[in-house]
Amino acid sequence: MKHTYDDEADVRTTVLIRVMALFFVGIMIIAATTSPIATGTKEGERAPALEGQFYNGVGWSDFNLESYWNSSWEEGDISGEWVVIEFMDTDCPYCVASAADMATNSQDFAGNSGWDGAKVNFIASATELDIPGHESSRAEIIAFRDKTADSGESCNGKDCASRPGSAHNFPYIDDLDQENMKKWKVSGTPSYYLIQPDGIIAWSSAEHPNDDIRDAIITLVPRAGVEA
């Protein structure tokens, strides 16, 4: 009986094994020397970029969320500054109602009152939802933030100056085109994210719909003499 040996197939198999070995060596080196963290908006993921112009009480200028991050921060270190981001719409009834809590929280956790924990910076990203009656503008964002009297701007059908709480002292980002909101996959407003000083999302209201951002800050942000 005649046997036909396929020497060519053997060459290809040998080469395949060698090349695959090389590939897996590369993968193993990367796996052994790095611990990649995915970029996303779930807890434990790295916060995506937040871009646009922000209003800080004086004028509009470029915003860079990355400027808040400190890559050398370590868990428990109270010198690192945390960030709370609120995605909101100046015409959304829940956002208007929560404006008082935002004002209180931003003052309480700013590090200059009775709070003995790490400083928490507050940022609002103001959008314009695709709902009739939610038409917004930069002037409306300013009126909402500063509670400008007689601005002529309407927030949820009322004068923006009449919204609950005091004037806010934290930056408001112009996201009227919803670009940031879509990038962060925000499904509704208001949505809150508590972010560690190294840019990792520690808490998201989307994953804790029944919890409050204030409780999340008290629970997660390290405090002097309290182990995290």
Binding site: D7, E8, V11, R12, T14, V15, L16, R18, V19, M20, L22, F23, G26, I29, I30, T33, T34, S35, P36, I37, A38, T39, R46, P48, A49, W69, S71, K183, D198, G199
Partner: protein, 196 residues
């Protein structure tokens, strides 16, 4: 080590591979043809250049994958205020993965160069096998498709106003590999395939 100096580990083999797959590579290879007889023929020289290019392309792709992993940890590798800043490009979450599956571009590059290396290395081991013609065609098609990816990534770089030098080295490796596969495919179809 300075990242631009480290880049030379990948860039030099890529450029040498590019020269070898071009007709001008003959003068570069001639002094070594006594020690490495395969470099004495046009086919052997292009095969060698192509293998070198694919290895360098695979290595630099792995390096970019490593950089993207390091950046995701919060570290940095080659951040710079100049236009050459691979951290800004590889670390930009809007552009650093493919838009369909979300796989890092470095991972795609490493896998593709691995396939190309398999195609060219197996063809060089058995150049007169009947499957070599197909393998060389596959290599040409894959590297040609790579031009569209390069175009997209250059568009991203223009958007960011930054250049990733490590990515550009991988792009150069793809261009060199395309030239090599194309030349081998034409040689294989002509009479010079078995010419000494």
């Amino acid at each position: 080590m300075d990242p631009n100096l480290q880049l030379m580990i990948y860039l030099i083999p890529t450029v040498v591979g590019l020269v070898l797959v071009l007709p001008i590579g003959r003068s570069l290879a001639t002094p070594f043809s006594e020690k490495f007889p395969s470099l004495g023929s046009e086919r052997g020289r292009v095969f060698f250049g192509l293998i070198l290019t694919c290895l360098a392309g695979m290595a630099v792709s792995f390096q970019t994958l490593w950089i993207s992993s390091k950046i995701s940890e919060g570290g940095n590798f080659c951040a710079s205020n100049s236009i050459l800043s691979c951290d800004d490009v590889i670390g930009n979450s809007n552009y650093n993965t493919d838009p369909i599956f979300g796989i890092p571009w470095g991972g795609i590059g490493a896998a593709v160069f691995c396939i190309l290396l398999y195609l060219v290395y197996s063809s060089s081991k058995e150049p007169n096998a009947n499957w070599v013609t197909s393998y060389l065609k596959y290599g040409t098609y894959i590297t040609f498709a790579g031009f569209f990816v390069i175009g997209l990534l250059i568009y991203y770089e223009i958007q960011m106003e930054k250049i990733c030098q490590y990515c550009s080295t991988a792009h150069l490796a793809n261009i060199a590999a395309f030239i090599g596969f194309l030349r081998l495919m034409r040689m294989n179809q002509g009479n010079e395939w078995n010419a000494v």
